[in-house]
């Protein structure tokens, strides 16, 4: 074929695959659209439609070949990388966390609902629901004390005569009323929400399940003053939209608050509060140490073993390679837990084997040594693999030329092998650094951040990411806003370090390439 231009889906198989994939996309789109329509989320629906339109357009036309390769990756990048970052940044400006999870309206509802109390000595009823001939929704109640029957409407309670009741006393039929079946009740329980049956100025019938009781509601919301008043205690809570709480005059917050935007407070807290700033710098220093140490140790050992196995006169290399891959092949999750047990002071393998009595988790530096040892063990097979691959790809003529020029051993390694290797490996080392900078599993599963000094919120081996995690999900109250702010800091730090390093690599490539 002289014409080298791609011919679209030239083969039948390609065409079938394309149709199949697009059909799946269409099916997924319909499936995802249903809940969006049900929730009346029109923006979401429009976005979804736009994405599907883009996908169909890109793959159903013949030009713009590059787009066909870029679109899937770009969409996934937006969905799984950019969107979480945007959401995290959004959260970092809010007070989202325990006590501030819901919106203002739900918070108001919850506070008012907590003001409903059973009237002392008030009657309790068995509940049935029916409609009068005029279609008015009515509670058909049986007093549990004396079995008398009542009809409750918006006007109040009236005695209900001639009702038929079942064995438990519940009304099953009444003249002039259509009694709902349970299924109907389930179907239409939303209507019940709207019905309030008063029995006095502040009291009414409160339905709870298939029962009801006479209760009074002491709290009410007034839109005018944007406040909640509790008539029983005389407490008035005024809404404070700055902090997302209902506050009394003397600053006592009502039980439930809501989520508001608090501006840069979370960032300011990180930057200005000495209780946070101090540890933050300390964690940062150790974080860099941990990431750099992990990369250097794993790379040194990985490269060393790779060089040894790359020697032509080495025998049994296959066996060695297989064994060396093992730490990498086993799930790190399980391995980390095993390592954590091995470092147990009293019953752990490490102390037993070397006849030590080191409280690995107790001292800052012993704990740091411990996580570095375990992390190196887990990480070096990866470095071994990539080093071995890079070594085998080295141009043998350069090495030979070096040998002819008299460079041997260390000199050849330092001047020729290592620089050539680094061209290929530096990007991988940088990504390994970035990975270890946020190596949550290694710390959380090994040391859990230990040791913690008395009263400290920060442990000796805490990374920024484990610290942020504990802020958000730790046993103390969750504070997602603050944790998000820390995450944004981590993002900025890692992004800066990576950018600087990649710039450095590019310069290096210019030198050696």
């Amino acid at each position: 074929m002289l014409d080298q231009r791609p011919q679209g889906s030239a083969t039948a198989a390609g065409l079938i695959i394309k149709i199949g994939v697009l059909a799946v996309v269409a099916a997924l789109a319909v499936w995802a659209a249903m809940p969006l329509i049900a929730a009346e989320a029109w923006w979401g629906l429009a976005l979804e439609a736009a994405v599907v339109a883009v996908v169909f357009y890109v793959y159903l036309q013949r030009r713009a070949i590059q787009l066909k390769y870029l679109v899937p990756g770009t969409l996934l990048l937006i969905a799984f990388q950019i969107l979480p970052v945007v959401l995290t940044i959004g959260t970092s400006f809010s007070n989202y966390g325990d006590g501030h999870r819901v919106d203002k309206e739900q918070a108001t509802e919850a506070i008012i609902a907590a003001g409903v109390q059973q009237t002392p000595g008030g009657a309790t009823y068995l509940l049935a629901v029916g409609e009068s001939a005029a279609g008015e929704l009515t509670l058909l109640l049986t007093d549990e004390a004396d079995g008398s029957t009542w009809a409750g409407t918006e006007e109040g309670l009236t005695e209900l005569d001639g009702a038929t009741v079942d064995a438990t006393g519940r009304v099953t039929a009444a003249p002039d009323y259509t009694v709902w079946t349970l299924a109907e009740l389930g179907e239409r329980q939303g209507e019940l929400t709207e019905l309030a049956v008063p029995t006095g100025p502040e009291s009414g019938i409160k339905v709870q399940g298939l029962s009801a009781f006479e209760g009074h509601s002491t709290r009410s919301y007034d839109e005018g003053c944007d406040c909640i008043t509790d008539t029983a205690t005389g407490t008035v809570w005024h809404a404070d939209d700055e902090t997302g709480s209902f506050l009394t005059e003397d600053g006592q917050a009502a039980l439930v608050g809501w989520r508001v935007n608090i501006g840069a407070d979370n960032y300011l807290a990180v930057l200005t509060d000495p209780d946070i700033r101090g540890p933050f710098l300390g964690i940062f220093a150790w974080n860099v140490m941990f990431a750099a140490g992990s990369v250097l140790l794993t790379f040194a050992i990985g490269l060393g073993t790779a060089m040894a196995l790359n020697k032509p006169d080495m025998r049994g290399t296959k066996v060695y390679r297989t064994i060396m891959i093992l730490p990498y092949a086993m799930p790190s999750f399980a391995m980390l837990l095993v390592w954590a047990q091995m470092f147990n002071r009293d019953f752990g393998l490490v102390n037993d084997l070397f006849n030590l009595n080191v409280n690995w988790y107790g001292g800052t530096w012993s704990a740091r040594a411990m996580v570095l040892i375990a992390n190196t063990w887990l990480g070096w097979p990866y470095m071994f693999l990539i080093s071995l691959g890079a070594l085998q790809a080295l141009p043998s003529d350069s090495l030979e030329a070096a040998r002819i020029d008299g460079a041997t051993g260390v000199t050849a390694f330092r001047k020729i092998t290592l620089p050539l290797l680094l061209i290929a490996l530096t990007p991988l080392l940088i990504s390994s650094f970035a990975f270890n900078f946020n190596n949550f599993n290694a710390i959380e599963l090994l040391s859990g951040g230990h040791p913690f000094g008395a009263g400290d919120a920060v442990g000796g081996t805490d990374l920024l990411i484990t610290y942020a995690f504990r802020q958000a999900f730790g046993s103390s109250s969750a504070d997602y806003g603050f944790a998000s702010a820390i995450s944004v800091f981590i993002f900025l730090i890692v992004a800066t370090i990576s950018a600087v390093m990649f710039r450095f690599t590019r310069n290096q490539e210019d030198v050696y390439a």
Binding site: A41, R101, V102, T124, L182, Q189, G190, V207, F213
Partner: protein, 413 residues
Amino acid sequence: MRRRTLGITAASAAALGAAAACGSDDGGDSSSEETSAFSGELVIWADETRTSVLKEFVKDFETSVGVKVTVEEHVETLREDFLTAAEQGQGPDIVVGAHDWSGQFAADGVISPVTLADDKKAALSEASVKAFTVDGNVYGVPYALENLALIRNTDLAPTAPATFEELVTAGEAAGTDEVLTMEVGVDGNAYSAYPLFSSMGGYLFKDDGTGTLDPNDVGVDSEGGIAAFEKFAELGAAGVLKTTYDASNVIPFFVDQKTAFMISGPWALTDVQGAGLNYEVTAIPGFEGEGPAAPFLGVQGFYVSATAANAVFAQEFVTNYVLAEDLQLKLAEAGGRLPALTAAAETYSEGNTDVQGFAAAGEDAVPMPNIPAMNAVWEPFGRAQADAVDGVSTGEEAAATAAQSIRDAVAGS
């Protein structure tokens, strides 16, 4: 973005409508007259240990009320899952969990209060109702109680110790590797430390006598609190308590007869029975001349979600169905915990020495505080205990540091 209620709650009677909130509608804009769609089933979320029991348990409700009940299992992360779902207006109608979640859930506005009639309240163990009370309202319906007790290998230590000192002597005399196992861990463990702490007269938050705790009165460094931390240091130095006892070895050591005594809960019995050991469950002894060692009472119960789609049936389930004696018995038999319903508890513990042992140990038990301030206690208290046990700090220092961190955290939140 305001929904229905801000408009209508001006009249307080509106709060007396059938359900305070309804529906999983967080659509926002267009909802003044919508009716929440009846999904036709009641959804319950429970953790892995209770799901299978509940599946049996709900069958009668399905037949008598005619609504389908789905029990969904949420392994490990039930509490977080529920919070995340409920704050979005989604999630189950009912969630089954421990009572100490109630403070957080209520403050987050994700559960509805339930009103229990006086006769129903009276039928339940008083402490269990108190455990679910937040700000004067009951937020959950209890069904099972659990607490720590002393489990003793009767072959290694024939008699039950009357004081903690006797326990240590007997444990040493048993000739085993360890004197006693109870969870401490590198982080400490406030839950298992509490019986010893309370025996020395320590308290966490001041109880005003009605069960309402004052988060501003922290008693970790009270006279009794300091004495307790000094005891931790003493027992740590003596090798009775070790920070290397944690969840991974407390029960195995007992099962392997490396210790004659173990402080643990009902969950440990399966393994102990499986190993065919002769054992007895008794109260945790207090220190000589000091108060009884009162463990924390943990209560399991049913919460109704504030955004339940089937609020009516959910309320019916928790307020009427759960409180039936035979059903509480069924749950107890499957779970091995004492029922919260007093009548069922009596029937259940008859002839069951394990349950009687746990009940005896729980006689002075105090409900684990459910106030959100309790979240500020676990870490500092535990770490201070670990420091005292390890001898890193003296008992007094440990108590003072812990108390200070707790006060800071309470003040900061």
